[in-house]
Amino acid sequence: MSAARPPLLRVSGLQKLFPIRKGFFKRTAGYVRAVDGVNFHIDEGETLGLVGESGCGKTTTARCVLRAIEPTAGEIFMRVASGSMVELGRLRPAELRALRREMQMIFQDPYTSLNPRMTLLDLVGEPLLVHGMRSRREREERVADLLRRVGLRPEYMRRFPHAFSGGERQRIGIARALALHPRLVVADEPVSALDVSVQAQILNLLVDLQADLHLTYLFVAHDLSVVRHISNRVAVMYVGRMVELAETDELYRAPRHPYTAALLSAAPEPDPRVRSRRLMLQGEVANPAAPPGGCYFHPRCPYAIDVCRTQTPAWQEISPAHFVGCHRAHELQLAGVE
């Protein structure tokens, strides 16, 4: 994979700490370790799913990748047209702005992420204008084309978002993200606010657009069923750290981290005949402002031993392209789902 062509995106040692400020002088009393040493890459044309529970740092990771927020430490490399990798943190503002066209975001909530006072033409055409498409006529043509692509009628161009359902609004958000021919699209929970029957339409649309436009997705979600449907590879995060990363079917069939196995077994299946032997985790997600020592998962892990309480597990490649951060990964036999 790496021999032929470098990946589209490479993230190494990514860290984002949010200071906790206290008192009148707002002195820093500690840090929320939102993202704490995350490494991954995304190949061109693939979808990397990023899953975990609330507060695990998946959204912060996505925002750091887009430089919507400044990481505390770590490097983010993106492959540019010439084929060389550039580090986003070292770019001058103008260079970063140019590269931003190639990285776009789709948001979770189609009700609040669209300005209610802008028509579809303005919403979808705004990025075109910002990036220099001055002719209104040209913009209208491009917007019409984009609306058709996401399954909306171009005649609706002059309407406002409130006239559309949740699923249609999410299509508008997608059209806006696609306006500048991005290569990387970061989708943060793009279907979790939608009704079940509409969720499937949007997932299929994302799959089709990827094939047609050769897009690369970083797909952030909490729902493991949704992630399985769209991802080539999946990364699992827990309290700011990545705990496992593997090719999708392998991760679901043969997870190597106890947290991944627990997540898989906790997902309620829509079939009363498989009321499964649930692996129920005790306790709750650790507080990222005061995480436990050693492996952050150890207080809830049914397999924890002494070393787990004191040492941070190394991020190791346990089999080709299958990474895990667990002291006992080699000896554990964990159940997945077929």
Partner: protein, 334 residues
């Protein structure tokens, strides 16, 4: 024991009279619940599942109003005598009888554990208040009962938690406290409206397991309202599928998932992503219509793959029996 259902809803209609028009949030809903059973009510946004629950509790917000229908609820008698049944729809929503039922015999758990507790009163004082409202005894005894029930629902160190504010508890702990409050008066019917939707999946498993365990111990019936078919499959004994204010199909849980008859139920099951598969999803066409633009005839007809012009868009399908405790409202079976 089960000669008579615990709850029997007959042709319930709850409408909202608004300036923009009439919204038929619940439009002729009928179902029954046996004591100790778990009825799952599933449907997408705007199907009327929450308004149905609020109608039963008589807490429909204005301008909503029950305009028709009956809600027969079997009340246990105080002195061990015979049960008697009341029609909740006819009671004064704020009268003494409804107040003695609401929160005591029928309890409610909301989706948002965040906003369900007062932020300025301790968890304990709110549960104690509920106990004092419906049961005899001193404040001291109510406090002891509160600590006991908090322990029962798995709140750690309940002696301390009882004096904490709700914002000092995590989402999972808050939902446990909510369940404790709901169970404090030993309801015979617990209505849980999206009880785990705001929770993480590992916490959801814990809460569902807790509800199941408490149901086994106390024998209450649970009406579980959710959009999540996974949660329904895990918990329910019977299922009612709702669409735009109607129950379109009702059956035992296994039949709903393995022999669904209504095109909407079938469509829902085909459109959900499954953790064991990567096959392309088969979505239902279109979207749930806006409540002011309710389709004529069968409300599902504009999205239905089995649509028959002249029938489905003109007439309303009747409830038809297609199997044991299995009913469908669709012209395919009439």
């Amino acid at each position: 024991m089960s000669r008579e259902p615990l709850l029997s809803v007959r042709d319930l209609k709850t409408y909202f009279m608004q300036d923009e028009g009439l919204v038929r949030a619940v439009d002729g809903v009928s179902f029954e619940m046996a004591a100790g059973a778990t009825l799952g009510i599933v449907g997408e946004s705007g199907c009327g599942k929450s308004v149905t629950a609020r109608s039963i509790l008589r807490i429909v917000d204005r301008p909503g109003r029950i305009v028709e229908g009956e809600i027969h609820f079997r009340r246990p008698s105080a002195n061990g005598g015979a049960h008697h049944t009341v029609d909740l729809a006819t009671l004064d929503a704020n009268g003494a009888e409804m107040r003695s039922i609401r929160g005591a015999e029928i309890a409610l758990i909301f989706q948002e554990p965040m906003s369900s507790f007062s932020p300025v009163h301790t968890i304990g004082s709110q549960i104690i208040e509920a106990i004092l409202l419906h049961q005899e005894g001193s404040r001291r005894e109510a406090r002891d009962k509160t600590i006991e029930i908090l322990r029962r629902v798995g709140v750690s160190s309940p002696e301390e938690r009882v004096d904490q504010l709700s914002n000092q508890l995590s989402g999972g702990m808050r939902q446990r406290a909510m369940i404790a409050m709901a169970l404090s008066c030993h309801p015979t019917l617990l209505i849980a409206d999206e009880p785990t939707t705001a929770l993480d999946v590992t916490t959801q498993t814990q809460i569902l397991e807790l509800m199941r365990q408490l149901q086994q111990e106390d024998g209450m019936a649970i009406m579980l309202i959710t959009h999540d078919l996974g949660v329904i499959a895990t918990m329910a004994t019977d299922v009612a599928v709702m669409y735009l204010g109607r129950v379109v199909e009702q059956a035992p849980v296994d039949a709903i998932f393995h022999a669904p008859r209504h095109p909407y139920t079938r469509g829902l099951l085909r459109s959900i992503p499954r953790i064991r598969s990567r096959a392309r999803l088969l979505p239902i066409a279109g979207a749930v219509p806006h409540p002011y633009d309710r389709p004529t005839g069968c409300p599902f007809h504009p999205r239905c793959p089995e649509f028959r012009a002249g029938t489905c868009d003109r007439q309303e399908p009747r409830v038809t029996r297609v199997g044991d405790h299995h009913t469908v409202s669709c012209f395919l079976y009439e």
